[in-house]
Symmetry: C2
Subunit: 345 residues, 2 copies
């Protein structure tokens, strides 16, 4: 007699995981959530979402994953932060279009489901959702023997947000506009394959001088920041944001041009913002060239904000940790400049 | 000198995959899509979505995957059907809440990205989206060495649909209501771990008599059906649907009770609907007990439809392939009855 459990899929284990997750999921629910966990589809009231907005609003959606940061989490046995990484990454992606989050759905898959680990992952997802006023509307946990390596798991998710047409970003940037950076907390969710290879010989428990007492594992697990509070503060202060660029896979080179008008580029001055020690460490240990480093890692540039020059002072007063790092230029391409050169130019 | 590619992540390969996908993705776009591929977040016009509906509509969202059906696809080298499985599965899930699809986002992850394979997967996703009038609004492809086994990939996705409050399902079913079944095409997306283990010794190329000339591989890859056309036909014919139950993971036992009022159950008569040959084969080869078979497999019951008894004739005329398989009862639990017993009762 065969059973489904013999095949490596344990439905009881999935049920147990769902029970452990239930309270965290419910804690994210607002009156807009009409049906959540247990329903075939999560139901979200549009009237609640729209509030004072009219029905010409625009839904903005994005799907992403946290990459091999899951392997660091597994190696350290820390499961409650990668969910925050995932949600914050997605929040930042739709923020680039000017949207605020409405709801989120997560996807966790692994070779063998450990209910407590899955529940910790979802607790992280729920924590970040709650912080952003975003409902965790649904999700899926999958147990896939023969697809995933032993002990490995993947974590992906989808966010849906809302923006009114007049708030949609980007607005066209102009040559001469200022480029501000909101600092990252570390690698966020990109560059982990590179980081793991380069730092393997040191080990996650090592505390290299560069990290000021942190272990490599702790530095690698630093939570992806959400820039929703910063951008909301800028909106509240009426700083006219022209464009936002979330520096993710492909780094500065690939992500900033995505939000600039055809024909425009940017100059960024080295040394005008803090590079996270963990990025410095990877560059040093791996002998990574600068161009490659800014392709694989965010190098401290978590989110770039394009504002008119005459709004720079107001922006920096509103978000003190922002840094003026460069400006938009009339020629395509993104260039890193030495500070002296830029001052002379 | 290290580079990101040496770490097993090839950004150029991802870019190539995106180029191959672009036409398929665009083919799903309607005027409602304001920003699609290349944007940080896909943008979808709510005014277009609402059409003649008012802003009290409800968004319905669901995330799911296709499980280890990806392994069969990989073994057979057939990559353009699993995307259809995924989309149709998600369409059926939100249909259970009464919702029609608006847009979809996919997530493909693998140990090493093969652009042509990823493009074929997305072509399948796009085909099913187009068929359903659903925009493929975004997606993510991830290359994760050390998380996925060599040659394996995972495929998950998220659908967002819309329903007006008066069309939200389920409506409360009543004891005595009729239970109709819309036939499945095979396993759909559940039970693949069991199927692979039980059928391994026969091989995917085998053509057992039971399959009438089909290979096991072909039967296992049969595309998950979308029941949107059937349900739309029932709506158009004013058949009052009380509830729909999509028979997925956990089978008949777990899924039908999810849409019935507390205290109600169902009796289903054996032999009143066709069991797909591939299900029969798994049951025979694996010596699977009936209860376990209806837990791990849909056994031909793709979607169950609860309608009042006086609507059965109209429903069967509208959807000729539907079968009257049983009825709702006043006691909790789902029971399989022999045909004779039910006729005597």
């Amino acid at each position: 007699m065969s059973s489904y459990k013999d095949s490596g899929v344990d439905i009881a284990s999935a049920t147990h995981a769902k029970q452990l997750m239930a309270a965290a999921v419910r804690s994210t629910h607002t009156p807009a959530v009409l049906a959540g966990m247990g329903a075939f589809g999560g139901c979200y009231s549009l009237a609640q979402a729209l509030g004072s907005h009219t029905a010409d609003a625009v839904l903005v959606a994005s799907t992403d994953g946290v990459g091999t940061k899951t392997l660091i989490a597994g190696a350290l046995g820390v499961y409650d932060t990668v969910g925050q990484d995932l949600v914050n990454h997605c929040i930042n992606d739709i923020l680039v279009q000017g949207a605020r989050p409405l709801f989120f759905l997560d996807y966790i898959a692994t070779a063998m489901l450990v209910p407590e680990q899955a529940a910790a992952i979802v607790a992280g997802v729920a924590h970040a959702c709650r912080t952003a006023g975003c409902a965790l509307l649904g999700g899926e946990t999958a147990e896939m023997p023969d697809v995933y390596r032993d002990g490995a798991f993947d974590l992906a998710g989808t966010i849906v947000g809302l923006v009114t047409p007049e708030h949609m970003l980007p607005h066209p940037a102009a040559a001469g506009d200022a480029l501000l950076a909101l600092p990252s907390s570390g690698l966020h969710t990109n560059g982990y394959s590179l980081a793991r290879r380069v730092l393997a010989r040191l080990g996650y428990d090592a505390r290299p001088d560069l990290l000021n007492g942190q272990t490599i594992g702790e530095a690698l697990l630093a939570i992806h920041r959400s820039y929703l509070p910063h951008v909301e503060a800028l909106w509240a202060a009426d700083v006219p944001i022209r464009a936002l660029a979330h520096i993710t896979g492909g780094g500065l080179w690939d992500n900033l041009p995505r939000v600039l008008p055809e024909g425009l580029g940017a100059q960024i001055r080295r040394g005008t913002w803090p590079i996270p020690p963990i990025c410095e460490l990877i560059v040093q240990e791996g002998g990574i060239a600068e161009h490659e480093a800014f392709h694989a890692l965010n190098m401290g540039l978590g989110m770039l904000v394009v504002v008119p020059q005459d709004s720079v002072t107001a922006a920096l007063q509103t978000v003190p940790e922002a840094r003026l790092v460069g400006e938009i230029t009339g020629t395509p391409g993104v260039e890193l400049m030495s500070t002296n050169h830029a001052q002379l130019g």
